[in-house]
Symmetry: C3
Subunit: 452 residues, 3 copies
């Protein structure tokens, strides 16, 4: 038998998954740059955000515009919202609430208004947080016409004029459009990994600029190295964005999505939390759980529930895509959530960096987790003759490497992928992957198609 | 979309499942009226019991007579047993054991006898309980010819005459019949709930007058209100009764039985105990376990074992019907079992009432537990447009009600019934049922046939 | 119905499974006789070992010779190794290491050598155990040409001559053969139980003379009594032996193997350890686990791992035979392993005897564990009429015997074998087996083919 092994088909990523202090700072710089852009479901804030991603990291990002009024699944693309100004001012002209001071001050998708109102008339249009009196809440009214201001309880308590000028200089353009970005990084195979984040939140750093910058940096890294799988990144406004995107897919394009993650809340201080797909035992569920456990991250695994982020749409029963949600502390479970305290100080560079490292580790297992068939399944093949018992010496733990050869040979039976073999053997995935490469080089394995 | 919802197809029962003090007393009064009737496998005691049920509660109850000698499955309907008198008397004519004083004093199905016997000749025919010296045991000899008396150990110890008159004035009529009662309450669908109780025990209140009165009152309540499912009540002597009843069914009639419960031992003080069907994961098993847990009853769940009550026959492997046994403390596990201490004082009104309440709660889930298919399964339907997000306000917990809408939409995929959705979501079944009704009203769900 | 039952088809074994002190001594005597025979992968030591088994216990044992150079699966039968002498001697002629003193002193499969070497030249060819300075290790070099001596650390430390004579008088004959033994004991059916042990180790008592003597005595016992199943015993050198044996099988002959055990390490003091088949839920896995638990042996159950003994070959994914490994403390987990301390004093008669008793108990369940179909599955059959309720009295625990009748009737539904019924009911297997025999005698059961 010819002992010259073919080059291993699984190349370990050129970019190390380990955290890097500089990388965290790079991520955070992008987050700070994006923070002041006034995003909403639609409008120029979204366009500006996507263009920044194009310029800074992802020249291949395609920006799509879908006209307002387009039917999308059970919904309709809303009018485009544009905002120029919004304030509450005293008769003396002092702006006591000013959208230019903080994007959160206006109720999202407010109708235009400009008039003088009494404090009592104004009150039903004001949103504050009595229990967190220094924070501005984040509120929207996308699908019910209305207008309003968000302010701190202290600001609210200080209002004592009988009459105020309110001005919301917005426009709801029925001839506008909804904007989203999409980037496909083709790999050796058409099987796709979908990474999706929502980009509609203004002036909130963890929810969801953190997801945005981690996903964009992951995309950039992948665009600069070879990869087996194809990767598709979708940056879109929440709910209506994935609904719009899904409405434009075909059964064939959806069938290519083998794994998916909603990337959100990746900058806060909490432990990781993985919410499984609706399917519950999809490969992505197994892979993320494996990485979180094996790499020793404090984390929590949760079953799918039908509320949360955009996995709601991807996992709706008609699509039922294998899309989980991999975040840190989930929405509503940290006090800064949907307030002005979710700012650039709350999100720390090292937390962004650790999140990106985790996503890279997940990618690494996705890349390497293939199925093979043992080509010498009758008895053990004589490894010594092929130099595979000797060859392993000096390569990490030789005993572990030899064991990995036996495990891979024993369980490449069409029933187990390499991840299943790693889980069953207790060996690190990379060691199992390396064993599979050695056996491939010795013609002892043949690739199998991905499981359907 | 037209927002006028159709009337909900699931009507909550007019009769509240909550316990009611008066109802307990009503149940207990019927139990006291039935207690002195001298029942056995066959004979007038059984007929009189069934006629009382007819007169008091169930005018539609049909009373069937099956001639002695009729082959039924592997068995034969026995001769009809009639008893007029039974006593042990001293030479002076004093009755030291007297059937008129307590029905339990005679060995069930005793052959007739009238003679003078010595105490030593008598002893092998006497049954007492040395460890419970004040109690009369319950003994029968249905399938082996014999005669005997049951008496307390104190009575037995007091016997000191050399000679006694024994008289058992019974008759075993080969031209008699076995008697059982059956009541069908047709519902909107032919799928049936079978409720079965044994009615052969004389002068035992918990075993099984309690089952009898709870089942009869449940039947009466159901006969006075609309219901989706059909309900079939069988009141028959133990073992030979269900065997006879089963022998008269057709495959088609048995196939209609979707759920079944043997109702027994429902008056004692112990916690509830549910014995699963032989199938082990039948819908009735899931429903009863759900109700016991969700309603907070102290209870125990047990796997099927092939002895116990009439579930032995329904669950024999040829029939394998989904029939469980829902009781309080099971047979043989309380000291009053099969003794004269199982009397009308042992069974308390509030215990009967709570048992009926539990059966009503089970009925409520059975009625409501249907399967639907989400009609807008691609992405989430826009609930706000249909007034379903607003509409829920003020209806109990609005957050819970909205969550229930999402849960039902997400899991009406053909794989889950509403009970499965309630279990998975942790929401009360009634809340899930209400959400399904709202979604049905908005044409977002369509009914599916019951699972086979 | 005719009540005369046919003789029970399951005869309890004539040989009691209980331990017997004399039997332990008999086993140990054979072990002591085999201990000095110089075994290796091939050669006269193996032949002599097999002939001793033939003469002492198994006249029907067939001894096979497979020529060196024969291709067997992915391997080739090696040259036959013969050894006449091996020593290290001082210039004065004193043998400081002498193969005649202990078989372990020579590296297995050493090439021939005879020359004078300096101590420094000698050292790379010497194997000792610094942590166990009094013990000689067991080392081989089957598939890499080499030579060497094994000696105690104390012997090694005492070497102080500048020059030594080394002599290894061996021969590697390319025209020799590999030798193995095989014994088939045909039963009533062709379904086979395979018992396999390796016989290549020299001067090691637990690994694996213990397996050899237990298997040989089991074979002898089975050869002297009727049995339902067929039993096949394979005595062969490790790894290459089963590979050779497997290479000579046909799909049909392998399909007959319904259960298999690798018998090894059965003489040490540790608790039993059962390593499951690769299949993980084969019948042999259920049977061994049942016996170990029910008989109260301290034991451990382990999942299959692809290293260990000859189950590696039988369970390779192409064959995937239902072969587990039933040992005491596994290889590498006791300090005497693969050293001169694994001697005849380490293996105790009562430990061998208990191991044989366990194998006999496993055989007893394998023999009795059949599948039946209830012939009266509609309702319970009337057992009293057939004398089956009376008949059980006086036969051990009558209540247990009656319960067993009900359990067997309820679960002989084509889904459960008798072992499954014993496990589910909690009754001893023998009681369930006896109940099945009574029901067979009453024509209430019919045999089913073994599950595929």
């Amino acid at each position: 038998m010819q002992a010259a092994p073919a080059p291993p088909p699984f190349a370990e990523p050129a970019v190390a998954a380990a955290t890097a202090p500089d990388r965290g700072e790079t991520l955070h710089a992008l987050l700070r740059e994006l923070y002041p852009v006034p995003r909403s479901l639609t409008g120029d804030g979204v366009r500006q955000t996507l263009r920044l991603l194009q310029q800074r990291l992802l020249p291949g990002l395609r920006i799509h515009e879908v006209p307002s009024g387009t039917p999308v699944l059970d919904w309709t693309v809303p009018a485009e919202w544009r905002i120029r100004d919004a304030y509450v001012a005293t008769p003396e002209g002092e702006r006591v609430v000013d959208w230019h001071a903080h994007n959160l001050h206006v109720l999202g998708y407010s109708q235009p208004v400009h008039s003088w109102v009494t404090l009592d008339e104004l009150r039903p249009h004001l949103y504050a947080l009595p229990a967190q009196p220094d924070l501005i809440p984040y509120r929207t009214s996308y699908y019910h016409a209305g207008w309003g201001f968000c302010l701190s309880q202290r600001q609210l308590d200080a209002l004592d004029e009988p009459l105020y000028e309110v001005c919301i200089d917005t426009e709801l353009d029925p001839h506008g459009s909804l904007t989203y970005g999409e980037l496909l990084l083709p790999g050796d195979v058409e099987d796709e990994v979908l990474i999706s984040c929502h980009i509609c939140h203004p002036a909130l750093a963890n929810d969801n600029l953190s997801g945005l910058v981690v996903a964009a940096h992951l995309a950039q890294a992948l665009s600069q190295r070879p990869h087996r799988l194809s990767y598709r990144f979708v940056f879109s406004p929440g709910t209506i964005g994935p609904i719009t995107w899904l409405s434009r897919q075909t059964p064939a394009s959806l069938a290519r999505i083998r794994y998916g993650l909603v990337a959100t809340l990746l900058g806060g201080p909490g432990a990781f939390c993985y919410k499984r797909t609706r399917l519950g035992q999809a490969d992505i569920d197994r892979v993320v759980a494996h990485v979180l456990r094996r790499e020793g991250y404090p984390h929590e695994l949760r079953d799918f529930v039908p509320y949360g982020y955009d996995e709601r749409q991807y996992c709706s029963p008609g699509f039922d895509l294998p899309v989980g949600c991999l975040s840190r502390t989930p929405h509503g479970e940290f006090p800064e959530y949907h307030t002005s305290a979710d700012n650039c100080a709350f999100v720390r560079p090292e937390q962004l960096d650790e999140s990106l490292a985790l996503y890279e580790q997940v990618v690494q297992v996705l890349e390497g987790n293939q199925r093979y068939q043992n080509q010498q399944p009758y008895g053990e093949p004589q490894l010594g003759r092929r130099g595979l018992y000797g060859a392993v010496k000096g390569q990490g733990n030789p005993r572990e490497a030899e064991m990995a050869l036996l495990w891979v040979l024993s369980f490449t039976d069409g029933q187990h992928d390499l991840l299943a073999i790693a889980e069953r053997s207790g060996l690190p995935f990379a060691v199992v992957r390396r064993a599979a490469d050695q056996l491939l080089g010795a013609d002892l394995l043949a690739p199998l198609p991905a499981a359907v």
